[in-house]
């Protein structure tokens, strides 16, 4: 990166939007610039808009609104053949009726350049000419050498292996000396070994050529290996832009954390100055957040240190251990939460262990809080226990079309009889669906009001229980006092239940 001309923007996307005819917004108001000579990767799951963005840069797709600037000039309406940009296609798109040489020479033969001549009188004049045959041959040979395919000129492209076709496709693009090379998941069709080799070769090629590479992939490892800059996308919106190290170590939100590498993601609450509570323990951390803020906590499996029982911060039990070559991947259960950890020392399944996480390895991200989510279970009486309380609920929502018989068993629409006792469920309660009362017997759970924030036209309150410090967050129009002791009331029909896993019948 040091030899790059600093901050020279080669391409800039301004408010770029692409909406398809069926109303789907593939790219939503995208703003991004790419520096000259950079290796940029668009990373995201399929359907995130990365390919559409690439196609708009190439010119195959026209933006619904917004601009694409190339060296400061708007090119968004220019047809693809007028852009100094070349593409390596996902399935190569090598012309089957041409041999390797003709495929690579395709672009060169169309190229017209200005040649300056001098006539007898010494006047110079310019003529627009096609490239000379010898020149084309020279360039094609150079490109073939670059991709290690010397001597393949006469071969028909259908006789080439996947890897060789890939190389021809790259040669066909770079031979035109584009300002930007676009690569649309070019390694997707290759096997793992070949892909690894090609990754390094592409990286090498990028260094040698000095062309700006824009690379599209859904493979996070590929993105981390090759890129100078990664652009993580989801639903047509950029989630994070940064270097591979930034993206891996400091993911901006839980989506990025989950998409890049393996990670444990917990819901947590800030309980004090640089203190965060998750999996039932208050951890020290380094990020500063508002007290009582709901956050996502990300911990990489390799950052969880396993110690003997009682020696760490939280105790738990190993429930699974898989040998992965260099390390063991183990799953530790703390209460009802699974924590994935990696260690070179194996812990046996069933062993009681304790975990320790260093403060700077706990990554905390702000979370948009839209509803309360809890882990719960169904009781014998078909009520649900969560948040240190027991609430009446409608269990028939777990199976559409089901009903309860006189003995309290659930009869599904297919006529199966299910005993729901002790079944684990996810519980969701909306912010507007909770009421509180001074009468401590009125509701299902009891706690203290720990926070009350005025939000324009209503207050947002948090009630925290004593035992497990579970929080109930909700909106209300009434004022209360902090530290009031109240009971939490949730109407039966407002408790949304989903099964954690399918019940065995």
């Amino acid at each position: 990166m040091a030899e790059l001309k600093k901050n020279e923007k080669i391409i800039e996307l301004i408010d770029l939007t692409r909406q398809f005819e069926d109303g789907v917004v593939a790219v939503d108001n995208l703003n991004l610039y790419i520096r000259k000579g950079e290796f940029v990767t668009f990373l995201g799951p399929s359907g995130c808009g990365k390919t559409t963005t690439l196609r708009m840069i190439a010119g195959f797709d026209k933006p619904t609104s917004g601009k694409i600037l190339l060296n400061g000039e708007d090119i968004s309406l220019l047809p693809p053949n007028k852009r100094p940009i070349n593409t390596v296609f996902q399935r190569y798109a090598l012309f089957p009726h041409l041999n390797v040489y003709d495929n690579i020479a395709f672009g060169l033969r169309l190229k017209k350049i200005k040649v300056t001549y001098k006539d007898k009188n010494g006047n110079t004049f310019e003529k627009i000419e096609k490239l000379k045959k010898a020149e084309i041959t020279k360039k094609v040979e150079k490109a073939l050498k670059m991709v290690d395919l010397e001597g393949f000129e006469k071969r028909s492209v259908s006789t080439l292996s996947g890897g060789q076709q890939q190389r021809v496709a790259i040669a066909r693009a770079i031979v035109n000396e584009p300002k930007i090379l676009l690569l649309d998941e070019p390694l997707g069709a290759l096997d793992l070994k070949m892909r690894k080799d090609m990754q390094l070769e592409l990286k090498e090629m990028h260094k040698k050529l000095g062309i700006t590479f824009i690379y599209v992939t859904h493979d996070q490892e590929e993105a981390l290996t090759m890129s100078d800059t990664i652009v993580v996308m989801k639903d047509g919106i950029i989630q994070q832009v940064g270097t591979p190290t930034d993206i891996y170590n400091e993911p901006k939100n839980s989506f990025v954390a989950d998409f890049i590498g393996e990670s444990n993601i917990f819901s947590g609450t800030i309980v004090g100055d640089k203190k965060v509570r998750f999996i039932g323990h208050n951890f020290d951390c380094v990020d500063e957040f508002e007290k009582n803020e709901k956050v996502d906590v990300v911990v990489r499996p390799e950052d969880v240190v396993l110690l003997d029982e009682g020696k760490g911060q939280v105790d738990g039990k190993i429930v699974s251990s898989i040998f992965k070559g260099v390390h063991y991947e183990m799953i530790m259960m703390v209460g009802k939460t699974e924590i994935v950890c990696q260690d070179t020392v194996e812990r046996k399944v069933g062993e009681k262990v304790s975990l320790h996480i260093e403060p700077d390895l706990i990554h905390i991200m702000a979370k948009e809080f839209s509803s309360n989510k809890y882990d719960g279970y169904i009781t014998k009486k078909n009520t649900v226990c969560f948040g240190d309380g027991e609430f009446e609920c409608d269990v028939t929502q777990l199976y559409p079309g089901s009903f309860l018989d006189e003995e309290g068993y659930l009869i599904t629409a297919e006529g199966d009889k299910i005993d729901l006792t002790d079944v684990d469920v996810n519980v969701e309660v909306g912010l507007k669906d909770i009421e509180i009362s001074d009468d401590q017997d009125a509701g299902g759970a009891i706690g203290n009001i720990v926070s009350m924030i005025y939000k324009g036209d209503h207050y947002q309150l948090i009630v925290r229980t004593d035992e497990n410090e579970e929080d109930f967050v909700f909106d209300t129009e009434y004022t209360w006092n902090e530290n009031d002791r109240v009971s939490v009331i949730i109407p039966k029909e407002k408790i949304k239940l989903t099964l954690k896993q399918e019940i065995k019948r």
Binding site: N81, T87, R91, A93, L94, P96, H97, L110, K111
Partner: protein, 279 residues
């Protein structure tokens, strides 16, 4: 003793049991092929190389290649077929191209409209066309022109369909790649789309050229009885003149011409197919 007997009879039984596999399923068609294709073909060869008395002779071929009437009829048939094929290509390609690219042709409804004439009895179609041409006043200019119009009208769908199929199946990324490499829309058509659709043109040409050489119903209807093509000549030998030997010889010559033309267009196709698969 009795045990041995039963064993033997069991073995006999086994011999007669047929394992019903895919090979056996071919038997009915195999028989059909031998009876109605191979055997008649051999008969034609036999008749072509014998004279009226049954002795082996090459007179039939000598007569064919020395007689100006037969030779000129063959030439005219070939020219008519060639003209028909070329006009069909010129008319069918744009239609197929537009159908393949058009958003209106979702589910192939438009294509169906172009193909539908094939479902109507072609003698009926030919008569109707003739009446229409007469009505329009085009019919009186030239009998050969009439025949060509009739043949193009009749065989156009056979040209549209294979070209359309090739164009629809063609990977759009080829066109994109071509434009990406700097080709304009016209250059892309000339350098990528057209060469890649040659296989469709070739199979269309085969499907038009060969039948038009022999389909004398159309030449009779549209030619006012004044245009004779090779198919008609063969028919006359078998029906009017009862000279099966000469008729067979002509049929054999035609067969050879067909095989050669197949081979020419086929070489186009196979080359393209081999290169075009799975890329």
């Amino acid at each position: 003793m009795t045990e041995q007997n039963t064993q033997k009879s069991e073995q006999k039984h086994r011999k007669f049991r047929i394992a019903f596999s895919r090979k056996q399923l071919c038997i009915p068609y195999g028989l059909f092929l031998v009876l109605f294709v191979v055997f008649p073909l051999l008969l034609i060869v036999f008749y072509a190389f014998t004279d009226a008395d049954g002795g082996i002779s090459f007179d039939n071929f000598a007569r064919f290649f020395t007689n100006t009437t037969t030779l000129s009829t063959l030439l005219i048939s070939m020219l008519l077929a060639l003209a028909t094929t070329i006009i069909c290509i010129i008319l069918a390609y744009p239609v197929a191209y537009i159908l393949a690219k058009s958003k209106l042709n979702k589910g192939g409804t438009l294509l169906m409209l172009f193909i539908m004439p094939m479902w109507i009895n072609f003698v009926l179609r030919a008569m109707a066309m003739k009446d229409l041409l007469t009505l329009l006043g085009i019919f009186r200019f030239n009998n050969y022109l009439n025949v060509i119009i009739g043949m193009v009208y009749d065989y156009l769908p056979f040209m549209i369909l294979p070209i359309y199929t090739v164009l629809v199946k063609m990977d759009k990324s080829y066109v994109e790649a071509s434009k990406d490499l700097g080709a304009s829309s016209f250059q892309t058509f000339r350098k990528v789309t057209l060469p890649l659709s040659m296989s469709g043109i070739a199979s269309g040409a085969t499907m038009v050229f060969m039948p038009t050489m022999t389909c004398y119903v159309i030449s009779d209807t549209f030619g006012n009885g004044l245009v004779t093509i090779i198919g008609k000549l063969i028919d006359e030998q078998f029906t009017t003149f009862q000279n099966w030997n000469f008729g067979s010889a002509m049929a054999l010559v035609l067969l050879v011409i067909m095989v050669i033309s197949m081979w020419i267009t086929g070489s186009f196709k196979s080359e393209n197919n081999a290169r075009g698969t799975n890329i």
